[in-house]
């Protein structure tokens, strides 16, 4: 579904990604982890077509990424940006409806039957219905991020890219957001690529992990096989302890300051 071969990108002479190879298959849930400035956002922007690689090839659904028009691509691929949506004065419902843009004909009519119903369902699912008429600018960070997710869902994509979607959320909304995302994934069989800061959140929700550092792939594969205290030491330069929370199969990591003896 996604194939990256030897993808290289630099900004103003500074290499950000160097010869990156990666393959993603339909239905997978990938987390992308790595230190700040390791090229996570750039990687997502390249796949989303917002930037062009200097070298190498990106293929989406067996076609060069550059061969898609913005509109055609937006029907298959949606992006939730790190900054989310700006505090505009449009009401929530209209912002979610904006996600239907790639499906509108030149008269502004939706080409899909039942699009209104689709938007209704999304609003319900994300608990946005009571907020429908509220301007985006009046919402809290967590609510605004839900509206952003609603807009992305209205796009009915096959592939969703998320750039650190939980950065500005408190722990309640972080968990809520990831739960909504995995529920959507289960129901619609979408493929998800998410750049994530929080290792434990990634361990909980991502099936696969791509670990990059300084523009190079350090590891790629099943989360349970990739994540280890050794890897975290190598990539983030931190000491950690692996713990198995009671009643859960997913190991989590505790971090401790360098040089402290456990």
């Amino acid at each position: 579904m996604i194939e990256l071969q030897g993808v290289t990108k630099s900004f103003a002479g500074d290499p950000v990604l160097e010869g990156l190879n990666w393959q993603v298959h339909p239905g997978e849930f990938w987390g992308i982890i790595g230190p700040n400035g390791s090229g996570k956002s750039t990687l997502l922007q390249l796949i989303a077509g917002a930037e062009k690689p200097d070298n190498g090839e990106i293929r989406l659904w067996n076609r060069p990424a550059a061969s898609y028009s913005r509109k055609a691509l937006s029907r298959k691929l949606a992006v939730l940006q790190q900054d989310g949506l700006p505090p505009v004065s449009f009401p929530v419902r209209e912002v979610v409806e904006m996600g239907r843009f790639p499906y509108l004909d030149w008269l502004g009519r939706d080409q899909t039957a039942g699009a209104d119903l689709l938007v209704d369902r999304i609003m319900d699912r994300l608990d946005l219905t009571p907020l429908a008429a509220r301007p985006l600018s009046e919402l809290s960070g967590g609510q605004r991020q839900r509206a952003a997710l609603g807009k992305v869902m209205a796009q009915e994509p096959e592939l969703v890219l998320l750039d650190e979607p939980t950065t500005y959320l408190d722990i309640h909304y972080q968990i809520q957001f990831m739960e909504l995302l995995s529920e959507w994934k289960k129901q619609s069989a979408i493929t998800v690529l998410a750049a994530i800061h929080d290792i434990n959140l990634a361990a909980l929700y991502c099936d696969q992990l791509l670990v990059i550092k300084q523009g190079k792939v350090i590891a790629a594969g099943r989360t349970s096989e990739v994540l280890s205290t050794t890897l975290l030491r190598e990539v983030f330069d931190v000491d950690s302890v692996l713990v198995h929370p009671p009643g859960s199969d997913t190991p989590q990591f505790l971090f401790r300051p360098e040089g402290e003896d456990g």
């Binding site: 917002a50 937006s74 700006p86 505009v88 449009f90 209209e94 843009f101």
Partner: protein, 348 residues
């Protein structure tokens, strides 16, 4: 949205028609609104026989040949400038953008003045020569201003205005220079710098109308795209918008409309700034509402401004650009103040 648009549009249209009747009525000779309405209805095909002409022929002459063309021209010019202003603000996502502050109007007027100075106004393309030259110079000015203000693909509000001022002064100097150099055409060139609608017959309406309609169709149909752009260029692109093409089409069309307006009325500032902002306060920032309502609002604003221009100091006429600047410049200062406050609020 549709109901809100219908309601607001109906109210706007009503005010527009009332304004039109009042503005046609007031002048050196007062003509009652009812009489104007009957004269106009009498001219409509199909219902002529329902109305008996019981007015003086001179009234009909004044209404149809003197005042109506001027008032309608004001309506068209105001509508064009306001719609262009709304489009500029949407594409550049800058509340201070309008044909005047961007220097587009000055550019267009410099182009027109050059043609007149050399006596070429009907040379290449007949009566379309003047609007064409105004358009080309308007576009060139816009390109220069955007280039001057741009910083790594972003255009900060203040640099945009500074760049606009620079171009305005420079182009204004060109027009003034031409005014000094030319003997016979002094008044005609001077007209471009101050703007006005006096002595403009039906021919000018006919000249502006096609540009107005075509431009409006493009801008209005782009309303949904402007809404998407409000979310940010990258977000709009991820939602399926061809951002570069949209920006180009909207900027060119808005410039085209501004230039067409300038080529019949000279430089009239601030209309494109005041009207869309007033409407934002009332109906919000949805361009599907803003665009059509700006058209109505711009027309209404311009008709009242022109009424003030020709009646306040009658028989002396105040240049129309002076009237709109008296209203617009303080409003501009207010917007600048507000955007400064908003930025400070964000920094905290």
């Amino acid at each position: 949205m549709k109901m809100k648009l219908t309601a607001a549009f109906a109210v706007g249209l009503l005010i527009l028609i009332l304004t039109l009747l009042i503005c046609v009525g007031i002048g050196s000779v007062y003509i009652p609104v009812g009489e104007i309405a009957r004269i106009l209805l009498h001219k409509l095909p199909g219902i002529q026989h329902l109305i008996t002409p019981n007015w003086e022929l001179s009234s009909e002459k004044i209404v149809l040949q003197v005042r109506l063309p001027r008032v309608i021209l004001g309506l068209l010019v105001g509508s064009a400038l306001a719609a262009a202003g709304a489009a500029f603000q949407g594409v550049l996502r800058n509340p201070l953008a309008d044909p005047y502050t961007l220097g587009v109007s000055s550019g267009a007027s410099a182009g027109a003045a050059l043609l007149i100075f050399f006596g070429w106004q009907y040379s290449v393309a007949g009566i379309f020569t003047l609007p064409a030259a105004a358009f080309i110079c308007g576009i060139a000015t816009l390109a220069a201003v955007l280039k001057l203000a741009g910083d790594k693909g972003k255009i900060p509000a203040e640099s945009l205005i500074l760049a606009g001022v620079v171009m305005q002064s420079f182009l204004g100097a060109i027009v003034s220079f031409l005014t000094t150099m030319s003997k016979s055409t002094v008044n005609e060139i001077l007209f471009w710098t101050m703007g006005g609608l006096s002595l403009r017959g039906w021919a000018y309406n006919a000249l502006l109308f096609p540009y107005f309609i075509a431009g409006l169709a493009v801008l209005w149909s782009g309303a949904r795209r402007l809404n998407l752009l409000a979310l940010g260029e990258r977000e709009a692109a991820y939602t399926g918008l061809n951002v570069e093409r949209t920006k180009l089409v909207m900027l060119i069309t808005a410039t085209f409309m501004s230039a067409a307006a300038v080529s019949v009325s000279g430089v009239i500032g601030f209309v494109g700034l005041v009207v869309p902002h007033m409407l934002r306060l009332i109906v919000g920032s949805d361009y599907r509402l803003l665009m059509p309502l700006s058209v109505l609002g711009g027309g209404i604003f311009m008709m009242w401004s022109d009424l003030a221009a020709r009646t306040l100091l009658a028989p002396t006429e105040i240049p129309l650009g002076v009237v709109t600047a008296f209203v617009g410049a303080p409003f501009f200062a207010y917007l600048l103040h507000k955007s400064k406050k908003r930025r400070e609020g964000r920094a905290v």
